[in-house]
């Protein structure tokens, strides 16, 4: 049974599902800049806008995996540049510990990533997403952290 249902049907190629949480002020704007600069990255990446990376609850990350995401990436302002001053510092600790825990539980650590992308770094956004999508594509489907009922 093909696990990933989001892949286009016409190609047999495995297309991962990647959820990217982007903070409104830097990374989402960075993604906009990537867009207006026509810097491509795979359509596998779907962006969810959050006010700040610190809005991202570990539950959202796990929820994405539950639902069949193959990779989750968080993007925020560079440390020190948070629109809300300190938000991304908390994000950094939270995600460090959470991802370390997922690693400890045997989940492939490449499936999770945190990147700091400023509003001016459209190129970095695109490069990051390209790299992440490549990594996830190489890893294959997330089988360890998904609810098997989903997609049915």
């Amino acid at each position: 049974m093909p696990l990933n249902t989001s892949a286009p049907a016409q190609t047999g190629e495995y297309r991962p599902l990647i959820v990217a949480f982007c903070c409104n002020w830097c990374s989402y704007a960075g993604a906009d800049l990537a867009g207006s600069s026509r810097l491509t990255y795979p359509a596998d990446v779907k962006i969810i806008r959050v006010p700040c990376s610190c809005r991202v609850n570990p539950l959202f990350v796990l929820k994405a995996f539950e639902r069949g995401a193959d990779g989750v990436i968080l993007c925020g302002c560079h440390p020190g540049d948070c629109h809300y001053t300190t938000g991304n510092y908390y994000t950094r600790r939270r995600m460090t510990l959470l991802f370390s825990m997922l690693d400890y539980l045997g989940i492939e650590r490449e499936r999770t990533r945190v990147e700091w992308v400023s509003a001016a770094e459209g190129a970095k956004f695109s490069a990051t997403m390209n790299d992440f999508a490549r990594t996830i594509r190489a890893l294959g489907e997330n089988r360890k952290l998904r609810d098997l009922r989903c997609g049915n």
Binding site: R67, D147, R149, C150, G151, N152
Partner: protein, 348 residues
């Protein structure tokens, strides 16, 4: 019916042979805990000498979570697809007398009208082999409920005894006979060794600290209102953590919840274990009739000792397996409650 015996050393062969009757579930140690698990799973060790598994066999008939129906929603339309019932036969081997009685307790709930077809299909496809106890533990008090663990009785197809050297088997249904016929290692045997084991075990049973737990105040004829208003509940329940370790370890607890899970493609309606000890168990939009842990605690114990017996001809829905004795984080178990309520109220 007649008694058969086989060489204990050939149990492995028996399990393999039973495979012909369906998947074989045995008392099994795995990852530091025990449960009735399919024979032959990697990292598991089937062991008939386990007195009681951590998990009772109830989840083979009433699983912790099971799908009932699947809905597909398109526009305003709902399409409905019933979940499959059990279709494959299976063998449940090594059920102790208390757990066997527990199946009887569950049967009276799920097989009562209107019949629960999910439970029923599992019961119908099961071949149940009971196993007598040779070395009861101090926490056992099945005898207080009139259960003889050396000679299990109840909804089973065969009864077995495990001795130092042999496994004895007495089929009690046609299905039970098929167990004998599917394995060549069985030979007719006499009662001598079984009787000896029973005698030895009964001697131990006589020394169980709570083997004769006084249950005279409970049961079908008990004074429901007096027990309900008993002053001991306050203190008994004061340190109950409201977890479900008793409920979920209990072989007879069968409260359930029905929930929906949105899979993104449709909605699965499933039934799962629930516990009357949980504070949201009876929660409604505007509140709950069981406001504190006292009410919830009382509900669980009175259900086992009073409410169930009143609805089921005096049959208690506690079988004295002692799992709650071993599992309760605060040690607030059936023996403690029965003693506190059965005797004089404890002086304050």
């Amino acid at each position: 019916m007649s008694l058969y015996a086989m060489d204990r050393a050939r149990l492995g062969e028996l399990y393999e042979a039973l495979g012909a009757l369906g998947r074989v579930y045995l008392p099994t140690r795995k990852n530091g805990a025990s449960a009735f698990l399919p024979y032959g799973e990697e990292g598991s060790e089937a062991d008939l000498s386990l007195l009681l598994c951590d998990k009772s066999p109830k989840d083979l008939f009433f699983p912790q979570s099971e799908e009932l129906v699947k809905f597909r929603l398109t526009g305003a339309e709902i399409a409905l697809q019933e979940a499959a019932r059990q279709k494959e036969p299976f063998v449940l081997f090594g059920v102790k007398a208390c757990d066997l009685q527990a199946i009887e307790v569950l049967d009276r709930v799920f097989l009562a009208e209107p019949v629960d077809s999910f439970y029923q299909s599992r019961r119908e496809h099961a071949t149940v082999v009971a196993l007598a106890c040779a070395r009861p533990a101090e926490s056992c008090f099945c005898t207080a409920f009139g259960i003889d663990p050396t000679s299990p009785q109840g909804p089973c197809d065969a009864v077995a005894w495990l001795t130092e050297s042999a496994l004895y088997l007495r089929p009690c249904t046609e299905k039970g006979e098929t167990i004998v016929s599917c394995f060549a290692g069985f030979a007719p045997a006499d009662e001598k060794e079984v009787a000896a084991q029973q005698a030895a075990a009964r001697a131990v049973l006589g020394r169980l600290p709570y083997g004769q737990l006084d249950l005279s105040r409970f049961g079908e004829a008990s004074d429901e209102l007096a027990l309900f208003d008993h002053p001991a509940w306050e203190e008994l329940s004061a340190h109950c953590l409201g977890c479900g370790s008793c409920t979920f370890s209990c072989p007879t607890c069968q409260c359930y919840d029905i929930r929906d899970y949105d899979t993104g493609k449709g909605v699965l309606r499933f039934r799962c274990w629930d516990s009357c000890m949980y504070k949201d168990f009876t929660m409604m939009a505007h509140g709950t009739p069981r406001k504190t842990q006292k009410e919830r605690f009382r509900q669980r114990f009175l259900h086992k000792l009073v409410y169930y017996p009143k609805n089921n001809g005096g049959l208690f829905s506690c079988v004295g397996c002692g799992r709650c004795v071993k599992k309760c984080p605060a040690n607030l178990h059936m023996i403690r409650v029965a003693k506190a309520l059965g005797g004089e109220p404890r002086a304050q």
